[in-house]
Every structure is written in structure tokens, then in C-alpha cells.
Assembly symmetry: C2
Homo-oligomer: 121 residues x 2
DNA sequence: ATTATTGTATTAATCAAATAATACAGCGGG
DNA sequence: CCCGCTGTATTATTTGATTAATACAATAAT
């Protein structure tokens, strides 16, 4: 599950984000059963309560659902997942352009910057 | 100074970031005197101590310097500012590409996505 | 039926960020 | 000289995230 935590945002928020990405990217498949709360907490070296809090939020987002004594599962609503994926890509893109703009690169220049970066490696 | 705080990262970190951007973008000019700690705190509706903490970090970064009883000033080292600007643009760009990759868009697709976004509006 | 595993709930303790209320030291202008 | 403005320092309090240690209820498997 290789998580990298940045110290400046609450862990449970980062957990929500990371698991969301795992679902959006298909790393956690549609309808797939997640590891148990305790397992996930162990893996990520986080307190079970913290993991539970993150999973609760994901359930609010309808990205996962719970079978009370059986486990938690990725939603089977593929459309929903796709919508989240697009929404996420949109956010990333808009934020990128906005941030670049805030330090003086307009959209065209931002694109140029990315292209140069590709060339570099 | 219009700041928008996101609740999930410590305010002083966000202050450092925002002021850094103001300097990088030239909104705070080279060598310009900053508003006093108390003023900045008022403007941003933050406790003076929190602002002070942020300014201390900016001083560690050499982006500002202090005249003890006179005020704080933007560095006059334009090269340094430029280096920070490039570093920041690099970070933004690399992070953008990484994040897009994590949800299944390779570099080419990420670029396409940005271009489409421009077309939309 | 017992056992292990599931999610869930509760309560206390810890830790860091942020606020709050001051106080001090140095300089400059009226 | 003194008042007002700088930055800086100190101490206490509040708030929220996180950890910690349990406990309970429901189900599936043995």
C-alpha cells in the first residue's frame, strides 16, 4: 500500500486521498473487498481509529460500502468511480494552472514548462 | 493580501507558502519593506505569534531579512529569488505529472488534458 | 456451540498548532 | 526627552488530531 505521509496534513485526510486514488486508478478493483480496518491500520502503521475515520469518509463519498460483519468493499458503481476520476484530474489540472499563474506563468507558458521537463530526462 | 486558508495544513506553513509566492511573483518587490508583523497578522486575521513563526522560516530561507527595530525586507538577491521561482515551478510541474500518473494518465495524456481544459472555457 | 474475524463505539491520554495576553529592547521623530 | 513604532520573548490556555486500550455485536467457519 506504500503510503508517503507529509507531516503537514492530518493523516486521516491523507488516507482518504490515497485510498481514493487506489480506487480511481483501479488498483483497488470494482467491488473488491478491502483489507480489514485493522490490517489496513497495520500496513500503514496508523492507529485503527484513524483508519476507521478515513474509511467512514470514503463511505460518505459512496466510494466504499460496508457489510457489517464481513468487511468493506469498493463500490460497484463504475460510473461514480469514473466521475471521481475526472473530477480529480480536473482539480489537479486547474490547481496546477492556477499555481503556475500565481508565480507568473500563463497557461501557454505552463504547458511549455511541462514539455521542457519531459525533454530533460 | 487575500489569503485563502485550507483547514488541513498548519496556518504558518500556508503563510510561508503564500508570502513566498508573493515574493517569487514580484508582488512583493525586491528589497521592499514588508508590513510589520502586527499588520500582517491583522490583515490575515492570524495571531502575531503565528505570523512571526512564518516570517522566521522565510528568513531561514534567506527570502527576507530583518532590520532589528525597523522592519523586515524582501531580499535584494534577485538570483536567489529566481532560483526559488524555478524550483517552485519544477515542483508544481513534477507533482502534477506524478499525481496524474497515479490515477492513470501518462505524461502525454496529462498534457492533452490541460489542452482540452484550455479549450473548454 | 465455540471461536475468530468483521465493523463499531467509548473514553482517556498525548502532542502540536494556534491563540492570547503581555513584556522587553532598540531606534527615530516630534 | 519621550512616545510610538519596530522585532522578539515568554507563559498559559485552547483546540483538534492522533494514539491507546478496550469492549461489544454480528456473522462465518470449524
Amino acid at each position: 500500500m506504500n503510503f508517503k505521509f507529509d507531516n503537514n496534513t492530518p493523516i486521516y485526510i491523507q488516507l482518504v486521498e490515497q485510498i481514493k486514488i487506489h480506487i480511481i486508478s483501479g488498483h483497488f478493483g470494482v467491488g473488491e473487498r478491502l483489507p480489514s480496518v485493522r490490517e489496513l491500520a497495520m500496513e500503514t502503521k496508523v492507529n485503527p481509529n484513524t483508519m476507521q475515520k478515513a474509511l467512514l469518509e470514503l463511505e460518505d463519498l459512496k466510494l466504499i460500502y460496508t457489510e457489517r460483519t464481513n468487511g468493506k468493499f469498493v463500490t460497484t458503481d463504475t460510473d461514480l468511480i469514473l466521475r471521481y476520476k475526472k473530477q480529480y484530474a480536473d482539480e489537479l489540472s486547474k490547481n496546477f494552472l492556477l499555481s503556475m499563474k500565481s508565480i507568473g506563468y500563463d497557461e501557454k507558458q505552463a504547458l511549455e514548462y511541462l514539455k521542457e521537463l519531459k525533454g530533460d530526462k
